[in-house]
Each structure stands twice: as C-alpha cells, then as structure tokens.
Amino acid sequence: MASGKVTFRQERCKGCSLCVSVCPAKIIFLDESTTNIKGYHPATVTEMDRCIGCANCARICPDSIITVERN
Amino acid sequence: MAKELWKGNEAIAEAAIRAGCRCYFGYPITPQSEIPEYMSLHMPKVGGIFLQSESEVAAINMVYGASGAGARVMTSSSSPGISLKQEGISYICSAELPAVIVNVMRGGPGLGTIQPSQGDYFQATRGGGHGDYRVIVFAPANIQEVVDLMQDSFELADKYRMPVMMIMDGMIGQMMEPVEWKKPPVNPEDLPAKPWATTGTKGIHEPKAIHSLFIDPNESNDHNMRLDAKYQRIMADEQRYETSETEDAELIFVAFGTPARLARAAARLLEEEGIKAGVFRPITIWPYPYDALYQAAAQDSVKAVVTVEMNTGQMIDDVRIAVRGCKPVSFVGQAGGRVPTPQEVVAAAKSALGR
C-alpha cells in the first residue's frame, strides 16, 4: 500500500468533519484539545503512517486546507 | 395593555394581520425576511393567504390581482426588491387599487449592504416608476409607531384606492422594542364592501374591468388629472408630522424615522451649550408637511435648518421646497448602513449656526 502524508492548514479549519467521514484509514479526528482562532477544533492526524495518500480528505474539504503527498 | 417586546419585522407582520390583512405575497430579502416568515406561520392560522412568490416582480403583480379581487393585501421587501416592484406599483396606482407596501430599507445603491439606510426616500416620495403617480408614504420612527400606523395604512389605501407605503430603515425591522397593542384588531368581514372589485358578474352586473390603459390622449389626460385631483386632496388632508421644542428655537432639525431620535439627542446636547434646537419630524413624507415646516422655519428665532438623514441627502429637497429660501438649509448624514452620531449632528448644527 502506498504511504501518504497530509498537512492541514489548521487555522482555517472549520471542524466540519467531512474529511473525518471519508478517510478510509479512519485516522483523521478533530483535536478537541485545541481551538483555533475561528473557534473550531481543527482536524488533525496523529497516526500519519497509516495514511494511504488517497486524497479523499483533501478532495472533500470545502475549505481547501488539506495538502496530500504520496510516495 | 401591557407592553411586549417585539422584533420590528414580526411586529409589522402581526400589526398587518390585526389590521385585517388576510393576504400577503412576498420574496425573501434581508433585512425584512422575518415579515414573510412570520406571515407564513400566522396567516394560515387566521384563514389568510401567504404565498412566497418567485420574485418581487411576481409578488407585486400578485398583489395587483388579489387587490382587484377585493382582498386586503400587503407585500414587503427591501430596497433592491422595491426597485423591481416599480412597474407594478405604477400599474396599481393607475388602476386605483389599494395595497400596503413595506420597504425595510438597506444601504444601496446596487447590492450595497444589508445594513440600515434611508436611501430610498426619493424612490418612495417621487415614484420610482413611470408616469404621474404618488403613493402615501409613512415613515415611522420606532416599532410602536409602525404598529400604530398599520391600520391607518390599510384604511387610507382603501379610502383613496391607492398603495400606501411604509418605509423604515432596516434597524427598525431587526431590533426589538416594547410594543403596546393599542387598537382592537380588525375583522376583515366588517370592512366595507368594494363594489369596484372583479369578483364575477354573477350574471347580475355588467362586466367590470380593472385596467390602466387609456390609449386616447384625452382620456389619458383626464385620467391623470383625476388622479392629480385625488393627490391634491390627500395633500390637503393627510399630512402628519410631529414637532418637539420647535417653538422659538434657534435651530430646527428636520429628520424622519430613526434619525429623528438622534436629532432629539443632539438637541439635548445643544441645550446644555445654551443653544435651543427643535426637531421637526414628518410622519408622512408624501404628502410632505410643507406648510407646517415653513411655519416652523419662518419663526424669527430660527437661524438655520439642518436635515439629518441616513443617506447622502434626499429629503433635503423637500426641506428646501418647504423653507422657500427663508432660512439656510444644510445637511448632515451618513449613508449605506452607518448612522450619524449625536455628536456629528451637534457639530453640523454648530457649523450651520456659524459657531
């Protein structure tokens, strides 16, 4: 399986969870430990090694804040 | 009756229903959408008609049809939507049908802003549509007055068979204020019959036609002269205004709607500085209370007249016409959603007085 890497422009995240809902690896979650300037818990990934770089998350993110890289 | 806290737009809608209105057509637009929203919920409860139209153009033409069919009918919108209604308003005026039209004004021109404004004074008082016509225009200054004037609006509309417009800045639509329901509700069944309405000949009467076509120039001229005579009658009989402290004032503020409040606040500030200022507030902006304003301005004590508006200066034309050059007239205002502050008004007053 390809391995991927996602980066979030967190200060622009609106915490809508669309990315969360479409990640096949189920590794995205909203980080409740922090609130961005807009008042939302931003999306994040910790187990990045499980990312397959499918770009589902980026494709559905309405705010275009996710960048996906892949090997 | 006890006072209740009402949102302006909802109070407008409720006041219309209490005034016997049983028919509403409109299209959403900020800052007045709560009017159709309220109507959609409450009209059916009183057996009335609420219909959201496909556009403002359609709405005013539905009003035209419903009024012809004898209904007590209303529409509301905000500035751009009112622009789209101009052709229809001209038709309704020419066909001499009653209707109430509410304009909760926002800042223009164009898409502008949804913030409050008084930028449609010209449109309301001079007829934004084509041809020689007028509508009676009330310009209430707070929610209580909106409510108080609603019944009068429908009654004058019926009496003179013409639209009555109620214009107010968007703030009045959006804010909440205490309201007292002073008049008993009107039961539409108790209203006088409308013998001119097209409700079918029933095989009894001759076919009626509601129309605005007078193709022959003489007929057209006669029709216009007849309308004009009606407008002259209204000018004589229906002017309304309010004065506060204008007697022996050194300066007269003229303001309609919300800015009249600011003007009164400014007058109080001026009083502290030893300047006596009064406020003249037209309640009908058509017919405009020209003579009353002239009387106020012509007093020996008066040195200057200052109009206060939430636009770049529109009512000032009527003030000039009223004052007939007897005193200098100047303007202070803000347009497009900003409200002048009492301090700005005070400064303008002082400069008008040369201090």
Partner: protein
Amino acid sequence: MAIVYQKSKGLTDVELHYCPGCTHGIVHKLVAETLEELDVLGNTIGVAPVGCSVFAYKYFNCDMHEAAHGRAPAVATGIKRVLPEHIVFTYQGDGDLAAIGTAEIVHAAMRGEKFTTIFINNAIYGMTGGQMAPTTLVGQRATTAPLGRDREHYGSPIRMSEMLATIDGAAYIERVTVTTPANIIKAKRAIKKAFQLQIAGKGFTMIEVLSTCPTNWGLTPVEALEWLNNNMVPAFPLGVFRDITAEEAK
C-alpha cells in the same frame, strides 16, 4: 330554420380591433363559447395581457383584469388565491408569455395554480410592429431580425408546451391551431377540457394556439393560414404534452 351558429354570449358587442383575418378573434370566440357552455361567465375573471389582445378586457363578457406585460400569471395567481371557487384564465401572446413573462408562467405551472392559460403563439410581436419573438422560426424575418432569425445568434424557437410539460404542477397542456374549421373544433375541445380540469381543481392548464399575424407576416389572412400550416406546425408539433387525467387513469 334553427340557428346553428351565432356570436357567443361570452363576448360583448364591442367591435374587435384586430386586423382583418387575425386569428386572435377566432380564439376569443372559442374561449367565450366555452365559458358560455360551462355556464361560468358570471363566475369568471379573465386576465388580459399586454400584446395585441390588450383590449381583451373589453371583449369578454365577464369580469376582466388587465395585467402588465408578461405578468398575467402572477395577477391570475393573486386572483385565484383570493377567489378559489372562481374560474380564472389568462390570455397571453408569445412575447408576453414566452419572453418577458417566462418566470411567471413557469412558476404558476410549478405551483400548480388552478387557472387556465390560453397561449397565442403567432411567432411574432404583433402589437409593437413585428419584432422577433422567442417563437419566431429560424429564418423568419422580423423587424428586429431583418435578415431572418439566425440560429447562431438567437438559437431556435422555444417550445413552451414541451418545456412546461416537464413540470409536475401542470395538469393539462395541449398545442392546437385554428387554421381550418376542423382544427377550430379540436381547439375548442382542448380549451374546454382545460377549463373543466381547472374546475375539477387538477392544477395548471394551458392551451397553446398556433395563430396568425397576417399584418406582420406580410401575408393575406388566407395565405397566413397556409404559412402557419406549412412552417409553424412542423416547428411546433400539435398534440397533448401533458394530461394528468390520462396518467391518473393508468
């Protein structure tokens, strides 16, 4: 001898102002006869448009309300909502209904407004002097299309019946013509059916009548009927485009 045909009581005695041989007059008769036969003249409100039929309010022997150009469906909506037990119809030209009044007719159909529209498609703006209509045929000359309507510039004529038939709220839509006595009888039948469905509360009904404008087509009235048959009928096929009673029957 018994009278087999005479002027309908659905028409007043006012002389029609239409040009000689203009089929507006024929359609007026059909509507009038229908109202007379259904015995609803005393209970009907007609809405006249702006177009050559602007004076229709003088001709029909029932209460009438004249609308602004294109807005007859909105006016009719206002009337019918206030007087749901009455019969309401609009009578509109192709400039009125298919150009400036497009939104109003589409939304009356969408809401399933319970009135009947008589749509006079004569492929031209008659009243204002022969300008191009949305229904003008490709190649047909008009005062604003002096070389004929150009498909590249203006597209092909719009077929309103087909378009409106896609809308659920439309109960009955048929296209007819009045070029021959037989077609006139068919047209009458269609108009009557539309009014009957209105009375039955089925929804929006419209009869499109392919009509002539001899004056602006530059033809004699008889030539105009022929031209209509040869040119308009192929572009605007006759027939029923929507009939919910047929669908309900299934």
